[in-house]
Amino acid sequence: MSSPVLQLTGLSKSYGHGDIFSGISFEVWSGKTVGLFGQSGSGKSTLGRCIMRLEAPSSGYITMQGMDLARMGLRKLRELRPSFQMIFQHPEVSLNPRMTLAESVAEPLMVHKGIGIDEALKEIRPLISRVGLRDEHLARYPHQLSGGEVQRAVLSRIFSLQPKLVVADEPTSMLDVSVQAQVLRLMQDLQKETGVSYLFISHDPDVMSVMCDQVLWLDHGNGVMYDRTAFLDRVKTEYNPVAPA
């Protein structure tokens, strides 16, 4: 692989009251996971949303497949959209409450391929069982599903588009520890099978060290990149002895 899946160069974002972050540069390579770590309010979600073009960065470049995402027109962006996808923190608001699970999981394929729901469901069926959902789940509405089941459904939605990059914004922080383990393991397995890259956002250092090859630590708007060992070293020095671990 000659070029990274995602490359940020000097990315900055400011709102009226000042910089959220500035001068962020890093690369994500195929099949790898880069973590974004920081306290609440450190700008890690905003950075993730800038990469998804859910927010516009103030300056800098986001290069994906050789193209600058930060300045891309909407038509081109829509073409590229299947290759970069996002999973959100709150399962309860991730799916349309008025759509059954079948409608929700089929929707991305219907939108991007212009096919009908029956065809889309047929295509996505192997993926639905791959993420551990059963046929009986398909007729249910989101409020009838557990948080873990919703995140599985979101993963099947995302992976039906065969993305190259998934931005995962605290996908398990609202889940119980045993369900968190199920979902994170599933994400790791899907990565091995498809070669997808993850940008993994979390404030839990233990989750970070399990999931990520490298971690960008956001602090007062600046980002420093660490490998796993160096990251854990900094966690130890910054959080002891107050850490509840």
């Binding site: 609440s40 309010g41 557990s146 119980d176 520890v177 045993s178 968190q180 404030h203 509840p244």
Partner: protein, 314 residues
């Protein structure tokens, strides 16, 4: 003298589609100054136990069993006597701090109104409120007292509700999910504040949480809940180092720092509790008896036991 004894507590909610068995056969006790953790995943019935003790369950709840607090039987206490205990002898740090604070009242007055209600002057009450803000690390307290809840972060709001709970030097503080939705840093601060309360006030803390790190850090005793039952109870260090119930072991193994080993399946619905052991379907050590006969909590002492036909040896 034992401060709190819960004996054979059962709580269920009748609904149109059947009964929801939220807590079944719950027994434990707490000495003054001790921290006991009720640890379990979503829907394991842990919050219901806290609500039953402080008598804040909806009137539809059917409660049986005994709850003895400081020599009084709480389940049969008249409403006005319970009202006098609540907030004074027993306090609750509620699960959702944002929804528990009045958005139109300044932070300082959220605390001060307790003292004003009890007859203090406004100035005295405000002074005391500022001291409490300092006690939970909300400084500069002068400034924070004048601000409103929406100007605080989630972790700060959590500490504000905690300061309200300790205002009356309660003997028992029930903290319901005090670290929910907080980041690592705020979690560490909350842990420190709760640990301070216990040393300073000699209050007992009933910690209701799914946060295993917090439980490990704070608790003397831990009761692990699964599908509304205590499946294991014991000293905190023993629960974490030598779990005896297969579920406890799986739960600890699922923690990221312990290898993130997933536990397949889901806990049973509280409306359709299986006949035998609740954990049979997900258990790697189950035998024939497990699906037929519900195991008793084999109790070595009131706060030590395991509910399993095939427990690991300790």
């Amino acid at each position: 003298m034992t401060l709190l004894t819960v004996q054979d507590l059962n709580v269920h909610f009748p609904t149109g589609e059947g009964s929801v068995h939220a807590s079944r056969d719950i027994s434990f006790s707490m000495e003054p100054g001790e921290v006991l953790g009720l640890v379990g995943e979503t829907g394991s019935g842990k919050s219901v136990i806290g609500q039953a003790i402080i008598r804040l369950l909806p009137t539809s709840a059917k409660i049986t069993g005994q709850i003895r607090f400081d020599g009084q039987e709480l389940t049969i206490l008249p409403d006005h006597t319970m009202h006098a205990l609540r907030g004074r002898s027993i306090s609750l740090v509620p699960q959702n701090p944002s929804g528990s604070l009045d958005p139109l009242v300044r932070n300082g007055m959220q605390i001060a109104e307790i003292f004003i209600e009890r007859g203090a002057t406004k100035n005295m009450a405000w002074e005391k409120a500022r001291d409490l803000l300092v006690a939970v690390g909300l400084v500069p307290s002068d400034q924070i007292a004048k601000e409103y809840p929406h100007e605080l972060s989630g972790g700060m709001r959590q500490r504000l509700t905690t300061s309200i709970a300790i205002a009356e030097h309660s003997r028992l503080i029930i903290a319901d999910e005090p670290t929910k939705g907080l980041d690592y840093h705020a979690r560490a601060t909350t842990a420190r504040v709760l640990s301070d309360i216990r040393t300073r006030e000699n209050a007992s803390l009933l910690l209701i949480t799914h946060d295993l790190y917090l439980a490990e850090h704070l608790c003397d005793w831990i009761a692990v809940l699964y599908a509304g039952e205590i499946i294991e109870i014991g000293p905190a260090h023993q629960i974490f180092t030598q779990p005896r119930h297969p579920y406890t072991k799986a739960l600890i193994g699922a923690m990221p720092k312990n290898g993130l080993v997933p536990l397949d399946g889901q806990s049973p619905s509280l409306m359709a509790i299986p006949d035998g052991c609740c954990f049979t379907d997900r258990c790697s050590c189950h035998s024939e008896i497990c699906s037929k006969e519900r195991p008793d909590l084999i109790q070595e002492s009131l706060n030590g036991g395991v509910r399993c036909h095939h427990p690991f040896s300790s």
